[in-house]
Amino acid sequence: MMLPYTAEVWFAALAEYHATWFPGPVLMMLAAVSAFVAGLRGGPEGGRAAFWFLAALWFWVGAVHQILHMANLNFMAPVYGGAWIAGGVLFAAYAGLRRDTRLIFTGDARGHAALALVLLGLIVYPLAGLALGYGWRSVPLAGAAPDPTAILTAGMILALRRPPLWLFVPPLLWAVVAGVSAYLLDFPLFYAPPAAVAVALGLALRGRKRD
């Protein structure tokens, strides 16, 4: 895999994306928060609503961030965009077809880890981008930028009681892209998605063994 830009350019492109598509990125961040709040409310209806929100986030990131915005910088962006849209279809199908979609963020290590990952995606990752000195215009927002959206998604899937493993495929694929980017750009923040997805997948697998 080759990356045709630097981390500095990636953050500059993020600032441009926020300005070009405003208020879209802010609305998508609110949708990301709404996904979490819907999951917190509990019950299958709340879970279904959370996955409808997640589907919307994945459609947005794929269509707008990757295909419409990043394609000018990265020849692979249309491919990534297609994968994000396919991820959106997957989450929409899950929300539409599954009955037991309760999300649980409390009670055991797995619930707490799910909560931690969601907060990592919603709060910590964007603040880390800010702390690195790229400015508030370049803050990577969950729902609008791919990395925090993938982290949030991994946390939400982990919060399901018996998540089907195929649900992890979209964030896992992005985790690979982010991990390679982190290595090629020598930019540690981009290792967050692979770390988050590894934790979520590991705990989910452990939970399945116990069950």
Partner: protein, 318 residues
Amino acid sequence: MPDSTPNPLSLAPYSPTRRGFLAASAVSAAALLLPSGAGAQTGGRILRAIPSTGERIPAIGMGTWITFNVGGSEALRRARLEVLRTFFARGGAMVDSSPMYGSSQEVVGWCLERLDNAAGLMSADKVWTPAGGDALSQLADARQRWGVGRIDVMQVHNLVDWEEHLAVLADEKAAGRIRYIGITTSHGSRHAEMERIMRARDLDFVQFTYNVVDRWAEDRLLPLAAERGLAAIVNRPFREKRLFRMFGGERLPDWAAEFDCRNWAQFFLKFVISHPAVTCAIPATSRADHMEENMGALYGRLPDADLRRRMVRYIESL
């Protein structure tokens, strides 16, 4: 036939064909003709002739992969403007880009529009199939993005669909809409196929990877370029910054002063352009101070054959 990819640091000879051996011998003989301990060029810029026309171009050009792909950011574009300003102020000419490099073509065009010292520009671009459209439409896009009436050197990127594209480029050259045509590869890949095309087709330029560590091109491609009268553009002369990570912390040897080398960038670049079959190296940078260092390699003496061997031995010892 698989590409020959020996250990880049190995000094073991390859087994050449008779024709390849003769070409390699001719190039080696030319290298030995350089005076010992001193380069052939002093004073002005180091220029190299394009064999097909005799036109002489500066031996240091610049690439735009990653470094000029900055999108719409005004601040980053202004920084690249200074890089290009320094490049032309220090006597550079060849700027190489590709539709694969994101917004690089457009950013180069934006910079050229704002420069008053770019008269010597030699534009080099590529046709790259995945960018969409045919060769003609990509050529038109390149002209429009660069803001030039004619692209000087048009190459087929990474040999993708080269038969189809070369035919179109040859027609465009015959019609005077391109001055030179060529083919490219990088990272040491597809050398065998490139060799076949170099033997079979009427080209002006070839482009491939060559640096003090990755020296596969010395075996066949550089001798063949000399034999066939092809100008050779060298990409990745710094291995995309990795040579600095590998050796930049080491002491530059005192004898580097024998060929007017003041820093590692000039060490790496002078190694490349002192090969007699090399026409132009195209290092990429996003910083004007680094461009200043790179362009220093365009002046002064070059290492002769003995010094080139010593450079390799020194690098291998680190």
